[in-house]
């Protein structure tokens, strides 16, 4: 019966080599969680930073969960994409971070990575764009056999998330 409000925004991203970036995001929760209102996933606009390095999206996240257990605490998974001058989109990084568990405002930084692929694919990516993508997006937040993957580091996504918890103390969870 505990409730969690996740209110915040995806501020933007830094450190990507690509310039025009946008972000697809989603929140994944366990079975015990029930989304009361809000939108679980979305996509930001494409931002092309004119000044400075950071691409700002300031994309709002507003979710209201009810939960009957702590398992499956919500986690955010992000995919940063870049749009090139032809309007084509390609993957710039996958990222994932847990929604903080203590109430208050949190500044999160979510580093991202992207699959490297074979040298052929790397070469193709460098010249004609595109790039290897995960076939199964679950891998972003599930650790199954990730060690097999060769990845390259992407930039960092910055999030600002405020958390309101309710009734957790009733069930012996201090916060």
């Amino acid at each position: 019966m505990a409730e969690v409000h996740v209110i915040g925004q995806i501020m933007g991203a830094t450190g990507f080599s690509e310039s025009s970036l946008f972000c697809k995001w989603g929140v994944h929760t366990g079975a015990a969680w029930k989304l009361l209102s809000g939108i679980r996933e979305g996509q930001t606009q494409v931002d092309t930073p004119q000044v400075g390095d950071m691409a700002y999206w300031s994309h709002p996240i507003d979710l209201h969960f009810a939960t009957k257990g702590l398992q499956g605490w919500p986690r955010l998974h992000l995919q940063v994409w870049s749009q090139d001058s032809f309007g084509r989109c390609q993957l710039a990084g996958y990222g994932f971070c847990h929604v903080p568990s203590s109430p208050g405002t949190h500044q999160l930084t979510c580093p991202t990575w992207r699959p490297l692929g074979s040298w052929r694919e790397q070469l193709a990516r460098a010249f004609v764009g595109g790039g290897p993508q995960l076939l199964h997006g679950d891998t972003i937040y599930s650790g199954a056999d990730r060690y097999r993957l060769h990845t390259a580091a992407g930039g960092t996504v910055h999030l600002e998330i405020g958390l309101l918890l309710r009734h957790f103390d009733r069930y012996g969870v201090e916060c």
Partner: protein
Amino acid sequence: MNPREEKVKIITEEFIENDEDANVGKRKKNSKVQRQPRKKQPPTTGPDKMVSEESHLGNQQEPAQDKPQTRLLSVTARRGPRSLPPIPSASRIGFAEFSMRERMREKLQAARSKAESALLQEIPTPRPRRLRSPSVKELETEFGTESGKEVGSTQQEDDSQSYSRVKFHVSARKIKSKPQVPPGFPSAEEAYNFFTFTFDPEPEEAEEKPKHQDGTNQEEEEGEEEPPAQEGANRMDEEELPHGKDAENFLLGLDHTANEFLAVRPADYESVHVRLQREKEMLFIPSRLTVPTYKKLPENVQPRFLEDEGLYIGERPEVARTNQNIMENRLLTQEPGRRWFGDDGRILALPNPIKPFPSRPPVLTQEQSIKTELETLYKKAVKYVHRSQHMIGSGDPSGNFQLDIDISGLIFTHHPCFSREHVLAAKLAQLYDQYLARHQRNKAKFLTDKLQALRNAVQTGLNPEKPHQSLDMIQKTINEYKSEIRQTRKLRDAEQERDRTLLKTIIKVWKEMKSLREFQRFTNTPLKLVLRKEKVDQKADEEAYEAEIQAEISELLEEHTEEYEQKMEEYRTSYQQWKAWKKAQVCKHRPDQAGSGRAEEHPEEETEEPYPEEDPVKPTPPEPTDQAAIEQQVRERAAQSRRRPGEPTLLPELSLAGSVTPNDQCPRAEVWRREDVKRRSVYLKVLFNNKEVSRTVSRQLGTDFRVHFGQIFNLQIFNWPESLTLQVYETVGHSSPTLLAEVFLPIPETTVVTGRAPIEEVEFSSNQHVTLDHEGVGSGVPFSFEADGSNQLILMTSGKVSHSVAWAVGENGIPLIPPLSQQNIGFRSALKRADAISSIGTSGVTDMKKLAKWAAESKLDPNDPNNGPLMQLISVATSGESYVPDFFRLEQLQQEFNFVSDEELNRSKRFRLLHLRSQQVPEFRNYKQIPIYDREIMEKVFQDYEKRLRDRNVIETKDHIDTHRAVVAKYLQQVRESVINRFLIAKHHFLLADLVVEEEVPNISILGLNLFKLAEQKRPLRPRRKGRKKVTAQNLSDGDIKLLVNIIRAYDLPVRKPTASKFQQPSRSSRTFREKHAASPDTRSPTHSADYPLGQVLVRPFVEVSFQRTICHTTTAEGPNPSWNEELELPFRAPNGDYSTASLQSVKDVVFINIFDEVLYDVLEDDRERGNGIHTRIERHWLGCVKIPFSTIYFQARIDGTFKIDIPPVLLGYSKEQNMIIERDFDSVRSLSEGSYITLFITIEPQLVPGESVREKVTVRRHHINFWPGAVSMYVFFSFRQQFLDLLAGDEEEHAVLLCNYFLFLGKKAWLVIGNAIPEGPTAYVLTWEKSHYFIWNPCSGHFYGQFDTFCPLKNVGCLIGPDNIWFNIQQYDSPLRINFDVTKPKLWKSFFSRSLPYPGLSSIQPEELIYQNTDKVAAAELQDSRIEKILKEKIMDWRPRHLTRWNRYCTSTLRHFLPLLESSQGEDVEDEHRAELLKQLGDYRFSGFPLHMPYSELKPLIDAVYSTGVHNIDVPNVEFALAVYIHPYPKNVLSVWIYVASLIRNR
């Protein structure tokens, strides 16, 4: 353990021991210390020493590298503050002055205190490390390396302590044990010598020394970091150090004595033999030889192999044979009592725990394939397709899949051209195949073996040497075995018999064939059967045979005895019962004899049978078994099914070695047959999903009726294959091919890829009938082998296609298989049995019954631990003993950690409310604030919602008067809901324009235009409307939106009619106010009617606009053609305060524009007051109305035009006739028009953006309903007319289609007109051609207009649809006034079907005929009287809460009689009659009323219509009302409703 620290320990311990050993030890210690430096000098010491020395040197060297001279200083300086109590620093400095004895005493003292403190502390506290000064850099590095060790060592000190203590004990003991008498010298030097000599020969001493020094050295290092305040346990050592150092210098010269201490000895060597000898005594070496089994088993026990008995035994871990033997031998000698050996004489072992595959992840190389979930896919950078969200499964770009079909050949098992011999040959081949298959399986052998094993098991089970098993357990297992034996024996017998019969049949067929060949004197087939005899050892065979029979007999005997015993038991019990019953009988009959004893029982037994119907029959004892009979039986059976002993085993071998008789030696018929065969050729067509994709080459039929194709077809496919068919075609000569048969190939599993697919044979057969005139037997024709034609056979053409189907493998090794999503779920291959999931599907796994069935079918080994969970699950599921959850839990431990249960979570009203709100459930869509506590939420919040959910399928008949309409309403409601839901989804798809408002950047042209505008006229003569800024429906709240209704003027309103009645006498109260001033005392007088001056006020109309129960009205104008030109502003309130586009679109409110006539009555009671007071009552009489739905306004954004006023057919007291005369100027224009008109301009302020007209397809009942989502309320059905009629609901289009069809049916020329009308917007009208005039029909209202009617609501025409063509308007104008409807002119009308695209003669999807059932009149009457009328009356009473509402029954009945007349005459020409009649009957009433006519759909519009007339608004005290309802039923449940409402005021 840090070696150095250990040494420190040892040293401290030394002193403890010394103290305990009193003086002696103490002295020794001292001497030892002093001797240290000297000992270090000799380079040759024991190896032990070397080692320690090295380590010691290592320690010393490092500090030495630094500044050796400062080191000493620093040591002393550092030590200064630390050495606290007993020895002053002076003692060290002035060391030389001290005599030896003095030193000793000091030493003793120090040692004592030291020992005390050591005893107290026992363990030296670990010294914390400190940062050193930079001057001792090298030390720092040294410590750095060992820091890791240090941490651990501090903890280990305890252990080391005890260890070192023991060590010291040993050394101390040794010291004591070797007392040597030294030569005594008195001097200090001599004393020193004395001490040194004493201990010299001890090797331990040498060892001790370096340790000691090492320890001190360590001390030095450690000391540096020690806090000065600490009372180190090793203070003593520190003191000793300088002694050692100084002593070194002092005693340097004494080295020459070194060889005195040494003794050279030979190396210790023990000869191998001696060692072995000694070892033999102590050691036991188990032999490597194999242990005979009998040793491992209890005596007289045969080894028993569970595996042979069919029990599961896990795989044993692999151990080398030698190791096993050694182990066994050891166990036998070492622990003979323990049962280490199993029944099979091997060591008990658990199944091999080693997994077949390594669990260590393989090292990833670049080429290695990654697991599927981690697979990445190189995607090209592609542009976003924005509309992709509606496409399902758009993800897969590459549809490049390939199916390889390999058709290797075709064999006919029967063909029309088969000769008789061929038939036999085919039969033989088939039997031989069967034989081979059986032979390979050899089930009989298997069963025999099993039987043997079971018999053995019974033997061992019967063996009493098994004390650990309870007796009944054994009995039970034995019984089980026995039943198993019985079963197996039966099976084996059956198998053997079958084998034998098969063999016999083969031989029989072969014989037949041979005889046939002989008979016809030629051979057609090369088949040849050879029977190979295998000799067997007669004696052994016989023995085995006999033994088998004997075993069987004994078993059978046993069985029979058992049975007999059982029967005997039964007999006994039943006999007892019978006896008891008998006795009871006796007692009943002869109570006196009851007690007489058992002696009399016997006679009674025979005599008494009192109740034959109840009495149990006297049981008969069973017969004992006859051994001879059994033996006989067994032997017979054996003779039948088994090979006789000594008989050779027959092995048939079929070969093709025979020769075929050449053509020239054959009879004519046979030659013909052979030629016919040669003319025939066969090919196969490959059909994929019922489409021919390829075909094989045509191959000639061989003489052996085999066709070899050997072709591989690679099918590049896009879709998941649904069917794969091969068609066998046969061509005879040059005739066209005939289809012989179709062969359906199974679609391969996704795991079957090219290269791995086995060649399979699929049989086919054809039902064609062929009779041939040669030797061929034909197909489907009876023929016989016998001469007399008996025993006829009918064979059908049949054969086998050998093929293999597999998925191709792409270049990179990826099988080219379509993704699973494409696969049809229904598709399953029956071939896959072994895998549960593939055989019953994933869903089947959750179905227990299916799973159990599968397990039974696939014969899972229940003992295999791999199947353990499955078997348990199945047993639980099938026995039904425990609760099996019918779900699968993903997160197993979730339950344990849950805060609350699911039910509780779902019970929470707050969550429910929040959830419903976010789901946009209509009831909660705009719920603003949700209470924070559950207790604050009323239960009734959900009532409506729950009721709606409950009622979804229940037809509510309360609001809807007849059930049919209720059903229809329900259906419409559902359609509406689904449409709204669709729309809610569609709403989320925004375009850029929806989100971004981009003001145009002013460029030079705009600037120029603006400059130009400066010169514009400020007030142009013809001002143009300027576009307003549109407002998106966001952030709006109540009151922000207003409905602006601009009422400009009206034409042709009805005017008051002078009451031509017998009651002409003007009553005072009925004189109109104005009229009085007009110097006419009574307007109603007929005399006045003529002398109305022109322009005399005939009517004083005003307009009242009501919308959402808000009412506004204009001022009163005068005359039948009033001009108001007024703007009314009505607030708009969206339902639930939701101003979203979707919500606005669903607003169903209607704007009512009512035109009233304002009538003023002078109500002055007294004429005398007339001079100084005016007392009038205003009455308003309803003239007509215009209804415009809000949605129309919303979508049209503005409504501008002249509308026909809906005026009731009878308007008492009003007429229009005079208008024609008076309003001359309009006559020409409105010659054709009848009725009144009003010009309006309606808009919404601010202008709302109507919803984006996204076209979506909604499928309802398979009909496509296109709709403009905006018009949720007016979705357009292009549906079946029948459905339209059934539903009684449709839009203009449907009405128009129906009407047009009706006209066509009547033989008129009619077209459907698609165009724009006011107020409907895009709509459909009907155009008819009649007597050189075109008429335009409004299909909904039934009004028709001439082509040149100005007031025709149809404003433009887009296209015409005729019965056989569609014409598009390509004229300059589109107004019906100005266009030519002659569709034959191609310049004016572009036709859809033309010469280039002729009318294909499309068939109609509509039913041929529409059936109009008659409506139930009784129901209509009931509806009319009891319901509508009653409800309306109640409503009127409700609307007049402050007044008494009286009903005039008389008037009501009059009206009721009048309404049917109106219906029949459609409101024409009845007015006068009616009026007259009314006047006749209700003469003394002032009467105002009118009939309303409307189609019936539901009740609410009726109520609204009545309300909008405002009849109830009269508040004259003595007013009476009359209300009559008439419903005229038309076929197909179409109801026409007439409502007559009137108010009556009695004239006094």
